[in-house]
């Protein structure tokens, strides 16, 4: 079935005429409709999608197709689109339609790589959350167990790909929002180096941490998507002005750079994997530990060497992040005032109350909480003790990584301390949820690229993700390292069975 195919396979099928883009698009649109109870999508429009598919089919016919032309994909609702609504899963932006497309949308779409947008995926409101439960429009269900969260904030994107409602999706990662849902739903996800992918048209949460990336079935697919998504964009002042890169260039090579060497018995000979002891300390579930250790052992079999490293401030990444991200959010979200766009309250006595009432009605609880924290840490008398102190520790965290990279080429550990938890289990206590982000936050604080790679299942058959953190700009190498593992293992090929469960339960119908 088409939804079980990788992007490479779909590309091949399209170019050889085995299927048209319209047929593929209809197949996925039908699945989205059929499994609407998963609540993975916030906006779908068959006409818009089919129109893009027709354009793609024309391109394929006239021989102007690129490797991604005609392949459907889903966009996280944090990217603005001219056609589909862009809500960031907030009541503040309910029914908002953007006058322009985000750079990522433009580059992947009909005027760029030629992919077909299937719609906009569910997420935590303004990307603030680790479970998708902070969506104003109801959470999405994890297809591996519909009683569990899909992770967040890119939860809808993860569900869409895991459930075969889209062959791939875009996500954004401010503190783990690509890697953690990828891990919870058994996908491969990449958060690139900060500045690799344009933030233009990405609804801002924490600007010095936000970074967009691909979520797909395997590393090869992520590389293909990065080839189209990445690159300098003058419309984003933090976009890195570097030459375009081919992220697939190391695929198929062994670590030493020999073509076809990926088929060798020890293709990763020479690779040094740093394993930080702080990623395996108290708090890591025994089941996740076993699977991650097994994955690292598999890498050793492939020729890699394991090196013990230390990232001593790992635990402190939580308070540092939960000072800096809210500080930036309180500033970014000040734009929602009910004047130019977004929700406006009906009753107010003056302009000031129009602002405050519109904001209070439009924002959900977690968003308000983070705005208040941000206002606090930036306010006079607290700025030095909280905000500046956090930025100083942030440098120590980034320095610690550079010290570790003197001994190793990549760092590996768990993505999250636990597999996907039950819906409602952690939503009452924000701190309990924040603690779950412990292993993902530091890569954002340092701006480093990081991935999640499926590496097994726990005893309740929930997916476990292996995290790989690389040094700046090492994405192509990381994708190579992940790809070699995926050549030897099948974890990334496993598919959830959820259709019959959904039907029996009549979830949210």
């Amino acid at each position: 079935m088409w939804h079980q195919k990788t992007l490479t396979e779909l590309s091949e099928a399209l170019s050889t005429g085995k299927v048209t883009s319209v047929e593929l698009t209809d197949h996925f649109l039908n699945r989205i409709l059929h499994f609407a109870d998963l609540n993975a999508f916030l906006d779908v429009n068959n006409d818009f999608s089919r129109k893009q598919a027709q354009i793609a089919d024309e391109k394929i016919k006239s021989g102007k197709a690129g490797p991604l032309t005609g392949i459907p994909l889903a966009h996280k609702d944090v990217f603005v689109t001219r056609e589909w609504r862009s809500t960031a899963a907030s009541n503040m932006l309910e029914n908002y339609v953007s006058p322009f497309d985000a750079s990522v949308v433009e580059r992947l779409g009909p005027d760029g790589a030629g992919m077909v947008c299937l719609g906009k995926t569910n997420m935590d409101e303004f990307a603030m959350g680790s479970s998708n439960e902070n969506s104003a429009f109801g959470y999405s269900f994890n297809p591996w167990d519909i009683d569990r969260v899909p992770g967040g904030s890119s939860g809808g994107s993860a569900v869409a790909v895991a459930a075969g409602l889209a062959p791939a999706a875009t996500g954004t990662d401010t503190g783990g929002s690509i890697r953690q849902p990828a891990s919870f739903c058994g996908l491969t996800g990449l958060k690139p180096t900060y500045g690799r992918v344009s933030r233009f048209g990405m609804i801002a949460y924490a600007s010095s941490l936000d970074q967009a990336g691909p979520m797909a079935k395997n590393a090869k697919d992520c590389a293909l998507l990065m080839n189209a998504m990445g690159g300098h964009d003058p419309r984003d002042s933090t976009s890195l002005d570097m030459p375009a890169e081919n992220y697939s260039r190391h695929l198929g090579q062994n670590w030493a750079g020999v073509d076809g060497g990926s088929k060798e018995e020890k293709p990763l000979a020479g690779l040094r994997i740093g394993v930080p002891k702080e990623f395996f300390s108290e708090g890591l579930s025994a089941e996740v530990r076993v699977k991650v250790e097994a994955a690292i052992a598999e890498y050793e079999k492939l020729g890699a060497t394991r090196v013990d490293v230390s990232l001593p401030k790992t635990e402190l990444s939580i308070p540092v992040y939960y000072v800096l991200a809210p500080a930036e959010a309180s500033s970014n979200l000040s734009r929602y005032d009910g004047v130019r766009y977004g929700h406006r309250a009906h009753d107010y006595k003056d302009l000031a109350q129009m602002y405050s009432r519109s904001r209070s009605e439009g924002f959900g609880a977690e968003v308000k909480r983070r705005i208040l924290i941000g206002s606090y840490v930036l306010s006079q008398g607290y700025y030095d003790a909280y905000y500046l102190q956090a930025q100083r520790i942030r440098r120590i965290i980034a320095d610690d990584f550079q010290n570790a990279f003197k001994q190793c080429d990549v760092i590996m550990g768990p993505v999250a301390p636990n597999t996907a938890w039950k819906i409602g289990e952690k939503s009452k206590d924000p701190v309990q949820m924040y603690l779950e982000d412990i292993y993902t936050l530091s890569a954002n604080l340092a701006g480093l690229p990081a991935m999640s790679i499926p590496c097994g299942f726990d005893s309740e058959h929930m997916p476990v993700g292996l995290q790989m953190i690389g040094n700046y700009f090492s994405e192509a190498r990381m994708l190579q390292i992940a790809d070699i593992y995926q050549d030897k293992t099948d974890w990334h090929k496993a598919e959830p069975e959820f259709g019959s469960v959904l039907k029996k339960r009549g979830v949210a119908a």
Binding site: Y96, V97, S98, P99, T193, Y194, S208, P234, S237, T238, L240, D241, K313, E315, L316, P319, V320, Y322, V323, S334, G338, V339, R340, Y341, G342, R344, Y348, D350, L351, A352, M354, S356, R357, R359, S360, K368, R369, I371, L372, I373, G374, S375, Y376, V377, S379, Q389, A390, Q391, R392, I393, R394, R395, A398, Q402, D429, V431, Y434, A446, G447, Y472
Partner: protein, 97 residues
Amino acid sequence: MNIEDIKHLAILSSLEINSDEANATLNQLQTIFTLVERMQAVDTTGVEPLFHPIAMIQDLAQPLRQDAVTEQNNREANMAAAPAQHEGLFLVPKVIE
């Protein structure tokens, strides 16, 4: 942190918060700041703040562009999402009597 702090923060943040919400928020923020306080144990004397992660590896300068017109006038499209507008202007309640 006390309830007056929360009310002050709400004003700074342009948020309306009723007493019940303020109490609940106070509890949550206190718990969060117990976690945040752990940062104070770190000696950061002489450490420069890292505001931009890429400053770790390269010097950053504000990128400049040519002072040329690049955007077209899309006033209508840009205003289409406004909650209240009239003849190309955003409408707000009267500010000056």
